[in-house]
């Protein structure tokens, strides 16, 4: 362990390792699925040449016009290029969940219950946001 990292806590180093893997793999998935969408001609629910007609609409009008899914229903449409690309986006948005899970045992072993609690609350907030339970609309 060199001088620079000797005072970095174990949990911080573990968080960094998981975050590094999560963000790199997420970025790779994002690029591969997007290239598949625009270059390989994967079928798309909304053809690329029709996108300029819908990207200026509000989300509400866009959903009405295209019938695009909300919540997690896009997972059923992974065979379509425009929704396959959302996989990388969801991956990047969710990679902090695993990092938080990874450091909880370290805090628990040290009986640092305040930070165990903070990690659990942070996880719950992320899960609540990801769940799709919270609905809004214009």
């Amino acid at each position: 362990m060199n001088q620079k990292t000797s005072f970095i806590s174990v949990e911080q180093q573990r968080y960094a390792t998981w975050l590094s893997w999560g963000s790199r793999s997420g970025l790779a998935v994002l690029i591969v699925t997007f290239l598949g969408y625009v270059l390989s001609g994967l079928p798309a629910r909304i053809p690329l040449d029709q996108m300029p007609a819908v990207w200026s609409l509000s989300t509400h009008d866009y959903l009405l016009k295209t019938g695009a899914p909300t919540g997690w229903h896009w997972l059923n449409l992974l065979g379509q290029g425009d929704f396959a690309s959302l996989l990388g986006i969801a991956w990047l948005s969710g990679c902090s969940l695993l990092c938080l899970l990874a450091v909880i045992p370290i805090y628990a072993k040290r009986k640092d219950w305040v930070f165990v609690g903070l990690c659990v609350v942070a996880l719950l907030v992320q899960l609540l946001a990801a769940s799709g339970i919270l609905t809004v609309g214009h």
Binding site: F7, I31, L48, S85, L92, L118, Q126, L134, V136
Partner: protein, 326 residues
Amino acid sequence: MLAHAFSKLQNTGALLKANVMLLLLTLSLFTVGAFAAENLPTASTMPWWGWVIALFVTCFFLGIVAVPSGVGGGVLFVPIVGGFFPFHLDFVRGAGLLVALASALAAGPSLLRGGLADLRLALPMAVLASASSIAGAMIGLAIPAAIVQIALGLTILGIVTLMALAKKSEFPEVGEPDKLSSALAMNGIYHDAARNEKINWHVHRTPLGLLLFVGIGFLAGLFGMGAGWANVPVLNLLMGAPLKVSAGTSSFILTLVDSSAAWIYLNKGAVLAIIAVPSVIGMMMGATIGARLLHVLKASVVRKMVISLLLFAGVRALLKGLGIWV
């Protein structure tokens, strides 16, 4: 001595060349933006790939200036793309969050390993800001776009004022740590490479800092912007964390805050891959170049140019929201 003078002359030449290039880049962003706003109707005849390439190139240039100016890419992205591209503000904000998130995720691991981001300092702030960013995102998607545009314009003008007036303190004077920061052990040590020494730090005024992070998270979710412009002053000037720790921890906090808000946009259908992905890739590639130019560009010049660019984009957002310059 002659070699030294020659090397100095070469460095000055490189510095001059880089700054002239940056000036041209900023001027072209202004010109293209104004031209696009004046001449491109919403239902443009430009094909989809033309817009995607224009978006990629814009984000690439924004990424270059974002690093030396010290502002996050998301802060530049939302007002500029929202003001000058034909995309609805809902999709621009969704993409803006992902731009800020991807940049923060890419930087996070090395900041944590170098001690410039601190998990104990970040987690309490991030929990509150994440929760409020969800509320901000929900409200932002529920109210009319014109109102969001007006609020965005006013906020950007506020950021411009903050950037122009706010001071920074590399190592703020901090007396005794407050009870809350002591209880949470919000302190640490990092190795400052420039000074080649270990710096011990602790913070104070934690309760007020936590309260402000609630507001910062709300704005991040509402406008789809990263919130480094607000995180850093709160951590550095209010709480007394060293500047480098403030900047690093601010970036790390965004990995949690922006992901919460991004989920709301994703679940609502407000993320279009065709807008978000080229923006993320363009901004990250530009930021890589920007980080390399950091040593040759004069940060104060870049900062002034970005302030001018933001001022223009802020006025544009405000006038667009008011229906004066649509």
